[in-house]
Amino acid sequence: MYKKTMKKIFNKKGYSLLELVIYLALFAALSMVLVNIAVVGYKAYRTVRVNRDFTENGLLAIERISRTVRSATDASNSSTFGSNPGVLILTTSTGTSTFDVSNGALRLTETTASGTTVGNITGGIVTVSSLVFDKITTSKGQAIKTAITLTYSATSRSETFYVTTILRGAY
């Protein structure tokens, strides 16, 4: 009678050791894959985010500078040309526009008869590490060559945008 009860107890549904080892191995492999997905996904997110900031800020800076230069009538010689950090002082139809670097961002200061407006053109996680303006004087007018370098400080990665714009207002 004792033997019969013993048999009943040991007949319960359990897991054999071999079963457990196999399942453990499979679980380890699966979790490796899942952790890998998480890590690669995070890295991808960081890279895409930095690329997006480079692209967005680079285009913003280039478009704003070239648009302002194009409609300007004169590039003042009190600007800082040929060196970093550059300062570009333009005479526009409404007053003066100045591009310079302030706290790692490209800053535009517009002075008109009604007052002065200041604002940053770039932002986000990238900073302006270099801004160089060159003044080109032709026999018919002026042009500005711009080179702006954006840097992501955490990885020291830099990307440079170049543009040259003729002052249509100085022809």
């Binding site: 492999a29 699966l30 894959v33 996904g41 692209t55 004087t137 032709t138 042009a143 543009v163």
Partner: protein, 161 residues
């Protein structure tokens, strides 16, 4: 009674292995698509830089024209030229010496001749106009092993005469 006791709600080993394999496959496919995302965002950045470089190329050629049309007229049609900037004299010039920008971009300038028809419109065939040229600025860079090319064609004329 025996049949009822034999049906247990458990998974056979084969089922578990198959399920694990499917999850692994999905994981591999996902990370593969992530690498494509990264390379695409990189390509977008390079394209943005190319756009600015193309605009610079066009304006630089115009400054050369502004200084003297003869410089443009003296160039050989169909030859690949490269832009070179002299930081001392602050002048853009065209040279046949190849150059690479930031070890990433190659920017070339190629000129084509322009014909005008009887009504002085630019046409495929007609009289050759020596005072007008078709300039094509091209930027190339590599992205994900492929070479990407962006072009900007524009007309340039001797407008100051």
């Amino acid at each position: 009674m025996n049949k009822l006791l034999n049906t247990n709600k458990a998974f056979s080993l084969v089922e578990v292995i198959v399920a694990a394999a499917i999850v692994l496959l999905i994981g591999v496919a996902f990370t593969g698509s992530l690498s494509k995302t990264i390379s695409l965002s990189n390509r977008a950045l390079r394209t943005a830089q190319s756009t600015a470089l193309l605009e610079e190329g066009a304006e630089a050629v115009k400054t050369i024209r502004d200084n003297n049309w003869a410089t443009i007229a003296g160039l050989t049609v169909g030859t690949t030229y490269y832009l070179s900037y002299n930081t001392t004299t602050d002048i853009w010039s065209l040279t046949t010496t190849p150059s690479v920008i930031d070890n990433i971009f190659t920017r070339t300038i190629v000129l084509s001749s322009v014909n005008r028809n009887a009504t002085d419109d630019i046409a495929v065939s007609g009289t050759l106009d020596p005072k007008t040229k078709l300039v094509t600025v091209t930027t190339t860079f590599t992205s994900d092993g492929m070479t990407v090319t962006k072009s900007l064609p524009f007309y340039i004329s001797d407008i100051f005469n």
